[in-house]
Amino acid sequence: MKASYFEKVGIGIKTVVKGMAKSLTYFFKKPVTLQYPHVRKKIAERYRGSIRLKIDPETGKFKCIACTNCEKICPAFAITLKTETPEGSKKKELKEFYVDLGRCIYCGLCVDSCPVDAIEHSNVYEVAERIKDNLILRLDKIGEKNV
């Protein structure tokens, strides 16, 4: 399929003109990008952003029952739980709940594994920090970063 010299010139001129015309039509199209910090995209409802603990609206307390399922299943070892069994009761209680966003891979396994639906993903995706330690969030305290 070796095209002859003049055939090739013909193909060349045709394709070059076509390509140039195409790029010019796109030049006049509306850009699709967003000016990020000024304009933000709508985040999907199911979006798996940073982890947070749910609060029971009736009691106003965290729903978590400190079963440590999420800690066990997390493939990235991002969750650390400290539990405590108060005197006189059999049930464990949540003392400290840490999640290391630097390790978290936003996989959603912890959310799936929770028996009482106490943990969820928020829609927060801007979690960059200057200091690595700041990425370790304590979720059982409503702090500045817990959204």
Partner: protein, 323 residues
């Protein structure tokens, strides 16, 4: 009165010219880079720079500032003298080339008798700078880029010269102002359309821009001859590139688009409008095509452009002889 007398002294002319050239140079460095970014952005469904200045107009200035602030790194094992000298060897010829550009009937640094010849001879010096950069860098990619660059500019000088020879034959002059005056009735792009295209293609090749950017082919040779350059030295290469883009467009305007000729608006404005129209085309081409392979580049030059230019030259002389 004072001003007019200053104009007449030699020193005054030199100072004014240097100032004028620097103004055009700076203006172009800002505008051309901005245009490149904006046009490429819009072709690619993006917006391009938007933050610094209105519509990102000052982005290039900000980038220049950043590059100036960077440390000048001289890698180990380079030939220090050549390595440091190379960017300026590329840069200064482009400043010198401003000398003959006729911005309008009065605005021209020096209307040399051999203006055209001067322009294209000076433009060849830059190749030596590129080769110096590649040779001195002590880097295989740079060396390969430099070798490619030499081969390319030797090849593409020929169609350029052959295509502008048509103009010289018609006007019987190498003086740029006269060439422009000869176009007051009809621009040379009309009778000489094919040489215009040849000139444009070869000029893009001389500029090392896609689809002919083999000396700096970034997906093959990392960055070609300026792989090892950073900071201000890189900025100098970069500015030289955009200044050269302006210069070849200005030359295309002068030779084919009637230079400063045009109704109503002042001549300088016409000149810049036409020049930036050519700049637009060059940028547009860059963001449309992939890169050629070096051997295909040579084939294209020797087997297509040069014969075409020769045939065209023959036809032109023939017609002129008959008339």
């Amino acid at each position: 009165m004072e001003f007019a007398s200053l104009l007449n002294t030699f020193l005054g002319r030199v100072i004014l010219s240097v100032a004028g050239v620097m103004i055009v140079f700076t203006f172009n460095a800002l505008i051309a880079v901005w245009l490149e970014r904006k046009i490429s952005g819009h072709i690619q469904l993006r917006l391009g720079p938007m933050e610094v200045g209105p519509h990102g107009l000052l982005q290039s200035a900000a980038d220049g500032l950043k590059l100036i602030c960077k440390e000048i790194i001289t890698p180990q094992g380079v030939d220090k003298k050549l390595f440091g000298l190379a960017p300026y060897m590329v840069f200064f010829p482009s400043l010198l080339m401003f000398v003959v550009i006729p911005f309008s009937d009065k605005l021209q640094v020096q209307d040399l008798n051999i203006g055209l010849l001067y322009f294209f001879s000076i433009s060849c010096i830059a190749t030596i700078g590129i080769f110096m950069a590649g040779w001195a860098s002590n880097n295989k990619y740079s060396l390969m880029g430099a070798v490619r660059s030499i081969a390319q500019s030797i090849a593409y000088e020929i169609p350029i010269i052959l295509s502008i020879l048509n103009i010289v034959i018609i006007t019987q002059s190498l003086k740029l102002s006269e060439i422009v005056k000869a176009q007051s009735n009809i621009w040379f792009i009309v009778p000489q359309f094919i040489p215009f295209i040849i000139y444009l293609i070869s000029a893009i090749a001389e500029l090392n821009r896609t689809p002919f950017d083999i000396p700096e082919a970034e997906s093959e040779l990392v960055a070609g001859f300026h792989t090892e350059y950073s900071g201000m030295r890189f900025a100098v290469f970069f500015m030289a590139e955009y200044t050269n883009m302006f210069l070849v467009s200005a030359m295309a305007t002068t030779l084919f688009l009637g230079g400063w000729n045009g109704p109503i608006l002042p001549p300088v404005v016409w000149f810049f409008i036409k020049t930036y129209a050519i700049v637009f085309i060059i940028i547009w081409v860059r963001w449309t095509f992939p890169r050629l392979r070096p051997d295909q580049l040579m084939n294209f030059c020797w087997k297509f452009l040069t014969p075409l230019a020769l045939v065209n030259l023959l036809v032109t002389t023939f017609i002129l002889k008959i008339l």
